[in-house]
């Protein structure tokens, strides 16, 4: 939260200096508006990842993987196993720090040529990958 607030405060000071030459009423109004907007943004920066995370889910069955994502626009994406071209399990530095991973499913499609499933535990991502790849139908990724 601090990481978000600090640049906003800095930005506010800069804007304040910039509009310093304007009339007093306008200055007060702008300051209030800026405060409101930055508070809202700060709250969103804090709460949004959790809201977003709560709306990501996936379901595996023998034939498909189904991925649900989106808070405002909600999408349910269904990929038949036979259409999976290849799969990446990627870890950025932060994800590595917390033992997380992003699963990327590649298909031959155009708009949905790559479908991401972020925020999985690394072992879980590997298990899903193994279940999606051909020849691992009976392999259980003990779906904890």
């Amino acid at each position: 939260m601090c990481a978000v607030l600090a640049p906003l405060l800095l930005l506010g000071v800069v804007i304040g200096l910039f509009v310093g030459s304007l009339s007093f009423d306008l200055e007060v109004l702008l300051c209030v508006a800026w405060l409101a907007v930055s508070l809202l943004l700060a709250w969103l920066a804090q709460a949004w990842p959790e809201i977003e995370y709560r709306r990501v889910s996936y379901a595996l069955d023998p034939e498909h993987i189904e991925i649900r994502r989106g808070v405002i626009w909600r999408a349910v994406t269904s990929v038949p196993k036979s259409r999976v071209q290849h799969i990446d399990v990627a870890q950025g530095p932060l994800e590595r720090r917390y033992g997380l991973a992003t699963l990327s499913i590649y298909t031959a499609g155009t708009e949905y040529a790559r479908i991401d499933l972020p925020g999985l535990r690394h072992e879980r991502a590997i298990a899903i990958r193994d279940r999606l790849l051909p020849g691992h139908e009976r392999d259980t990724g003990d779906g904890t």
Partner: protein, 485 residues
């Protein structure tokens, strides 16, 4: 059958010519600059080798940096050949071998003898059913002709498509330089100094600053009518050059198109590789009782940089015979009697919100600019918003036909897209906040090679349960089939 074949691809003369034509001016300096380029091109093409192995095409190129590329026959989506005037004079062709990798063709052979091209087609496309040796070479006789465009039809295509604007934009600069348009435009638009042009007068009158003469109105209308006609005529000329002698043939499990007056293009598409098929019609199409039919393949036909964009598989087709064309291209699909499924009962309301917002914004602008005289414009926009929403929803529909899903949309410009279950990649059900409030959802179907298509299967305003059911069915049907590109 691993017959090795080596072909020296390139007569040196052709290289110098094609390399030279890339520079516009034949200044000495440019020619000097071209020499290393030409040498490099020469070296590259002299080092170019290809051979046909039992089940793959092997292309080797490079002198300093060598590369050898193996392309399995089964992965080749289509083989296109382009011959410009120079190519034809020398009896060679530029050949592009496309796989599903998208973008760039897998292998481009700039100058390949025509006989070698024929041989290559034989090798690549005969692989599926029988061995190459038993097939007679390039038998056009046993091919069924699906469409042959007579010159009048080609001109009609140009008239309907109206690509004139593009040509105009290109030619405009040239004509402007020559000063041909100056006088004509001065009369109509008026120059900054004289300020007496007809369009200026009318704009002033609309804003309410001056009276408008009847003569001015007539001249303006005539000017725009003339402009439209010129654009159409240019487009017809373009179509005549581009599509002259268009023939679409089916031979076994492939279709082949040939066209072009100066630059001959010939493309081969295996039917198996057709991902989606789209039927498009504009009001003009309906006036002449025609449609145009496009197909998407997974090959690199979507790359915009390529000067030779692929034309529709049937640029202009009589609507009455459509059934025969569809059954030739997609044997398992029949569009004779389709039981169209309708969108949500309240879909018109949703559509009306959209057109209403558009109309409101446009009316706002009109009122801002035209003041009182904008009443007519605002009324027209309101009527348009009302009618368009109704008509748009009335023409929405989807259906299962054979082993495919069909989706149609559009009121004046209509599209109908067919995708076989075996070509579906990803099925998505999308719900916007507005959808949630009205109990609707949208189902999108993604296929390979859809980058270039203007219409995809993307069904809006479905009842929420229908959408869930449809997505599940499509996904299940897709999973039943194996995807073979």
């Amino acid at each position: 059958m691993g017959r090795h074949l080596r072909a020296l691809l390139l007569p040196a003369v052709a290289v110098i010519f094609t390399a030279g034509s890339s520079g516009r001016d034949w200044d000495l300096w440019l020619v000097l600059l071209l020499i290393p380029y030409t040498l490099a091109a020469l070296a590259r093409s002299l080092s170019f080798r290809y051979r046909f192995d039992a089940d793959e095409l092997v292309v080797r190129k490079g002198w300093v940096f060598r590369s050898e590329r193996h392309i399995p026959y089964g992965r080749i989506q289509n083989i296109d050949a382009v011959q410009n005037v120079l190519h034809r004079a020398l009896g060679v062709a530029e050949v592009r071998v496309e796989t599903a990798s998208g973008g760039e063709p897998e292998a481009t052979m700039t100058v390949l003898p025509v006989t070698a091209l024929t041989e290559m087609r034989e090798f690549v496309f005969s692989d599926r059913q029988s061995s190459a040796s038993t097939r007679e070479p390039e038998a056009i006789d046993n091919a069924t002709e699906l469409l042959r465009l007579r010159p009048s039809e080609v001109l009609l295509y140009g008239f309907i498509e109206s690509r004139g604007a593009v040509i105009m934009a290109g030619g405009f600069g040239v004509l402007w330089e020559l000063g041909l348009f100056d006088r004509a435009f001065e009369r109509v638009t008026g120059t900054e100094l004289a300020g007496g042009g007809v369009i200026r007068q009318i704009l002033r009158a609309a804003i309410g600053q001056a009276a408008v003469s009847l003569r001015a109105v007539i001249v303006t209308i005539l000017f725009f009518v003339a402009l439209l006609l010129v654009l159409r005529v240019l487009s017809m000329g373009w179509a005549y050059v581009r599509l002259h002698g268009f023939v679409l043939r089916r031979r076994g499990d492939d279709v082949r198109v040939d066209y072009g007056l100066l630059t001959r293009v010939s493309g081969t598409i295996p039917l198996q590789r057709i991902q989606t098929l789209t039927i498009a019609e504009s009001p003009l199409h309906r006036l002449f009782d025609r449609v145009s039919v496009h197909v998407d393949t997974a090959g690199g036909n979507g790359s915009e940089e390529q000067p030779t964009r692929r034309e529709p598989i049937a640029p202009l087709f009589r609507r009455g015979d459509l059934e025969s064309l569809i059954s030739a291209l997609l044997p398992s699909v029949s569009l004779g009697h389709v039981e169209w499924q309708r969108p949500h009962a309240h879909a018109v309301r949703r559509a009306r919100v959209r057109t209403g917002i558009l109309a409101a914004v446009a009316s706002g602008l009109a009122v801002g600019v035209l003041k009182w005289s904008s009443i007519a414009v605002v009324l027209a926009l309101a009527v348009w918003a009302w009618v368009y929403a109704r008509k748009y929803v009335a023409h929405l529909g989807w259906a299962f036909v054979g082993d495919a899903v069909v989706f149609r949309s559009g009121w004046l410009w209509r599209h109908l897209t067919v995708a076989r279950f075996s070509k579906l990649q990803v099925i998505t059900r999308v719900e916007s906040p507005f959808d949630r409030r009205t109990g609707m959802a949208r189902v999108r179907v993604d296929t390979a090679g859809a980058t270039s298509s203007e219409h995809t299967i993307d069904i809006p305003f479905l009842p929420a349960e229908t959408a869930t059911e449809l997505a599940a069915t499509l996904s299940a049907r897709a999973a039943e089939t194996a995807f073979r590109w």
